[in-house]
Symmetry: C2
Subunit: 159 residues, 2 copies
Amino acid sequence: MGVEIERKFRVRAGWRPDSAGEEIAQGYLSSVPERTVRVRLRGGRGYLTVKGKNGGADAARRAEFEYEIPAADARALLSLAEPGVIEKERCLVPVADGHTWEVDVFHGENEGLVVAEIELGAEDEPFARPDWLADEVTGDARYYNSSLARTPYRLWEER
Amino acid sequence: MGVEIERKFRVRAGWRPDSAGEEIAQGYLSSVPERTVRVRLRGGRGYLTVKGKNGGADAARRAEFEYEIPAADARALLSLAEPGVIEKERCLVPVADGHTWEVDVFHGENEGLVVAEIELGAEDEPFARPDWLADEVTGDARYYNSSLARTPYRLWEER
């Protein structure tokens, strides 16, 4: 078990990471806010991940349990998942202050959406904001991957 | 991944297995019929299990994916689970035809309920019915453990 401390941002319009990323396909066996159960295929490996309550005052902290599973199981579990599998490319973008941003370039139903996340060791850990960063969306439920599975970016009225 | 072929029965009133069983505590991260995600502590070991659609014409067959996880994770996940943790004792009862019945003696909110299950290699595999067996309840949704978590035996109007 771990606790995630993450901050999430949109990126400037038109900005994209320089290098290609790793293809990720993921779906949800449960997407209720109290407990999400995610199945993920990433670079040919499978993962099953349970996360505790999302959002609220403590939006940046969240219990997380992740287990590697056979890729063939992950593929079968994606077919059992709730409708709305997410496809994205994850790019790692190291910056000068020593942090590495995880930038998700979404495809499929979420084409056009690009989100950058930083994982912190403590909630008050300082970090530099690269000039390609736009608004912070930490805790904004529309950007949860579990929400993007149900209500993808292309259906948003306001982007 | 495997496919479960199971038949489930009540036992005769008052009958109990001779020997004590293994204590099981389990809860659900998802209990919708299309996909259940179960957390279980059994004899000090932890398990995370995903099962596909339950019930319907094909009630005896069901996709199942089980992963062992650290017992400490299972304990933490039980506290994240949906309300209604199931406590039961599982007794293995070998019978003369070579099969072994799994008999669940429920405790807590399901005290009084005893259910016997047999796992078969094929749906048409013959098996003897021990004289302590009562009605078959395969496919009866009230007896799903996911249902017993939400609507425990002590709340049933008709038993």
